[in-house]
Amino acid sequence: MKVLILFAHPAFERSRVHSRLINAAKQQPGVTLRDLYEVYPDFDVHPDTEQQILQKHDVIIFQHPLYWYSGPALLKQWMDLVLEHGWAYGKEGVALKGKYMLQVISTGGNEHAYSPEGHHGHPVKQFMLPFEQSAKLCNMEYLSPFVVHGTNQLTELQLDEYAERYATLLQTLQADRLDLQKARQISELNNLIALPPIISK
């Protein structure tokens, strides 16, 4: 499957997590990476261009840090302008039918904070309901997100591990070998991706 990463990070130059994830993604041949804040610094998203690109891919990944339980503003602007009626949804809007959508998210809060007893009270996937439902409205299958938790506490080694897992996830998607059965049962995809042997030790 052809994978498209729509990456949104307004302060990428200061990023610890996404800089590593993006590096890993860049090393995957065949993956299309679109750095939205670099392409649209003025927020003037071009629907035409974006739609043409979407049509050439099977898996659409929104990669972004979690900002106020959602994505950064440009990601929302992108959705508002690109997912047009009659194209993405509506009676004649079938352009995205059969594609997969998934989010790759980093969160300041750790895994516990995103549990019912934790600070934020709900798992990350629940906060992502608007994205999930948007995907469904556009006839796409929404896969559970790949989440990097507790970004402030992660060591360099752990960050590298996440990048490694991300690379494996991308390869799995490209080869169309993701176990959909299992993927639908768990709430975060990162738990599905086994670490490569060297790293897990």
Partner: protein
């Protein structure tokens, strides 16, 4: 035509340069060796074209050294000079002291009386500023640690010439008549010591103060006339005047010129002065080297081959050893230390002056003077060959055959290594410059309007007066190290001149060019410029979008519309330029295209605006 005629001489020297220097360059030998070879060949030993005029020529061409030191001074801001004080005094001082002592000792062992030995020792401790700096500069090694050390030593030596000239008469045997040229020309000969000291101090002070408060305003007036040759004349006048003043008070003209350069290093005319003096310096130094080649007394070599060879080798090996040892003490890396020692083992041009002075002061025998002059010339001629040996044999052992210099920071010219050059600093360039400055990006600014340059300097901005379409000026502004040049001169013609110069000499620079209108933009596209900024587009559109807002449209939509309009306009401009490849059809085609452009623009732009369908109300229904 006689040998004496000016044109005949000019013909011989210029032809020698034009023939031999490119030849030497082609053979990778460097220009200095080319001049020297040319000098040997046209000299009395071979073709005899210049007879025994070599020495006179050198006296005249020594002025090239004065100019070179002026240029070096220009590159050195006082603060930087202050930073280099340790290597200049330490390394330079030790080099002169140790070498003089060693040579004096050996000469005394060889049976010379102590005063003669001391004179020879001091003279031989000097190295050749002209050859070494020219050579290192040409190879791009001035910024390397060895280059900096060589520079420090040479500078100290140039300063040391002055006390040497002062000491020599004292060393002369009692009763000898002093007939040295330099001394008799000086105003202050025969004055008591304290008067001399006062006069010397006064001269230096007036140089520093005059440079600041007299020369700058004069240059300003001259620059305002806009006559280039007048500026060149003023630049030459400045250097000559310094040289005359210094000679009058018995100081070295080279040192004076150096000081004058340092005083003006901070001024806005620095680059312009540099590029005006540079060609004269090059020519005179070339003549000087030809003179060196021509003065080599082959007769003497033939008659006393062993003595001459022995002296040349002995002197060079000794100086090499001292340099190597000092380099080690001053913690140069092995490779840089070798380069340092290979660069400086010759005897310098001041030796000619000092030897003839010492001869005149009856300090040395005439024969000794002649022999030493020949030896000095040979050591100088060997220097480029030694450098070749270093580059081809020694340096490859260190695994870096190619220009080592580039890797180390260029200390001489710190602020010239700015990543950005801004050419043209009127209302357009100023905004570019202010914004870059506010964003922490350093830029070297060049402008042609001397009044403005003055004003901006008063406001504390580093702006230089000069024409950026001249390759030499671009060079002084650090074009070789910069990454980007903003070309924002006031007229399209000037901009295109700069574009041409940059493309020819510094193709690595990314050009961002100001254009007046569409036609100007087309021309620039034809010249291959990729980043073109029509000066009014953004402002006009901002105004237009304000009109929309005042008419009651929402601010966001108005501004977004303006941005879209600009994007579309730029795209169609690029599309149109494709038609312009064949210049003959340009005018005919352009008219048609302009019409076409208007039509397409109107339609496509409207279409584009209608496309913001994502926000449409009716779409929302199905989402509800």
């Amino acid at each position: 035509m006689t040998n004496e005629s000016f044109f005949y001489q000019a013909l011989v020297y210029l032809a020698t340069m034009v023939v031999f220097v490119p030849l030497a360059k082609k053979l990778n030998l460097g220009s200095v060796l080319g001049y020297l070879l040319g000098g040997i060949i046209i000299g009395p030993a071979l073709l005899g074209l210049i007879g025994h005029g070599g020495e006179d020529l050198m006296h005249f061409a020594e002025f090239g050294v004065v100019m070179m030191l002026f240029l070096i001074g220009l590159e050195l801001e006082p603060s930087l000079l202050w930073k280099l004080r340790a290597p200049i005094l330490g390394l330079g001082g030790l080099q002169v002291a140790v070498t003089s002592a060693a040579v004096t000792g050996i000469a005394m062992l060889a049976g010379l009386p102590w005063n003669e030995a001391l004179v020879i020792g001091m003279i031989l401790s000097l190295s050749s500023t002209a050859i070494v700096l020219q050579m290192l500069g040409e190879k791009g090694l001035m910024g390397s640690a060895a280059g900096q050390s060589s520079f420090s030593v040479l500078l100290f030596q140039d300063i040391a010439v002055i006390p040497m000239l002062a000491i020599f008469p004292l060393l002369a045997p009692a009763g000898a008549v002093i007939s040295g040229q330099e001394e008799s020309a000086s105003l202050i000969a025969g004055q008591p010591a304290w008067v001399r000291t006062l006069i010397v101090l006064g001269a230096v002070t007036s140089l520093v103060i005059g440079g600041r408060y007299v020369v700058k305003p004069i240059l300003h007036i001259v620059a305002r006339t806009g006559l280039r040759e007048l500026f060149t004349a003023s630049a030459l006048l400045l250097v000559v005047a310094i040289a005359v003043l210094m000679t009058l008070v018995g100081l070295s003209p080279a040192l004076g010129a150096f000081l004058g350069g340092v005083v003006l290093a901070n001024s806005e005319y620095r680059h312009e002065l540099e590029s005006d003096i540079e060609p004269f310096k090059g020519l005179l130094l070339g003549l000087f080297f030809i003179g060196v080649g021509a003065t080599i007394d082959f007769q003497l070599i033939v008659e006393h081959p062993l003595l001459v060879t022995g002296l040349v080798l002995g002197i060079m090996v000794l100086k090499f050893g001292v340099l190597l040892g000092l380099g080690k003490i001053f913690k140069l890396s092995r490779e840089q230390n070798l380069l340092f020692a290979f660069a400086l083992p010759q005897v310098g041009e001041f030796a000619f002056v000092l030897f003839s002075f010492a001869g005149g002061a009856a300090l040395l025998e005439k024969e000794t003077v002649n022999a030493m002059m020949a030896v000095v010339a040979i050591t100088m001629a060997l220097t480029p060959l030694l450098m070749l040996l270093f580059e081809k044999v020694i340096q490859p052992r260190f695994g870096c055959a190619a220009g080592q210099g580039g890797r180390e920071p260029d200390q001489i010219d710190e602020h010239e290594r700015n990543p950005v050059i801004i050419a043209g600093f009127d209302h357009f360039g100023t905004i570019v410059g202010r914004f870059l400055r506010a964003s922490g990006v350093k830029a070297t600014v060049l402008d042609l309007d001397s009044d403005r340059v003055d004003l901006l300097r008063k406001m504390g901005l580093k702006v230089y007066y000069g024409d950026a379409s001249r390759a030499d000026l671009l060079k002084s502004a650090g074009a070789a190290q910069a990454r980007i040049i903003v070309i924002a001169m006031a007229t399209p013609e000037k901009n295109r001149e700069v574009v041409a110069a940059v493309k020819k000499h510094y193709p690595h620079l990314q050009m961002l060019v100001r254009a007046t209108d569409n036609n100007d933009a087309f021309e620039l596209m034809n010249d291959g410029v990729l980043r073109i900024y029509r000066e009014t587009v953004d402002t006009s559109l901002r105004l237009a979008s304000d009109v929309l807002e005042l008419l009651g449209r929402r601010a966001y939509q108005s501004q977004r519309a303006a941005r879209m309009f600009r994007r579309f306009d730029e795209r169609s401009l690029k599309g149109l330029s494709a038609y312009r490849d064949d210049k003959q059809y340009v005018n005919v085609v352009r008219e048609r295209i302009e019409e076409l452009q208007k039509m397409i623009q109107a339609d496509a732009y409207t279409n584009m605006m209608l496309r913001d369908a994502g926000w449409d109300r009716d779409n929302a229904e199905e989402r509800n």
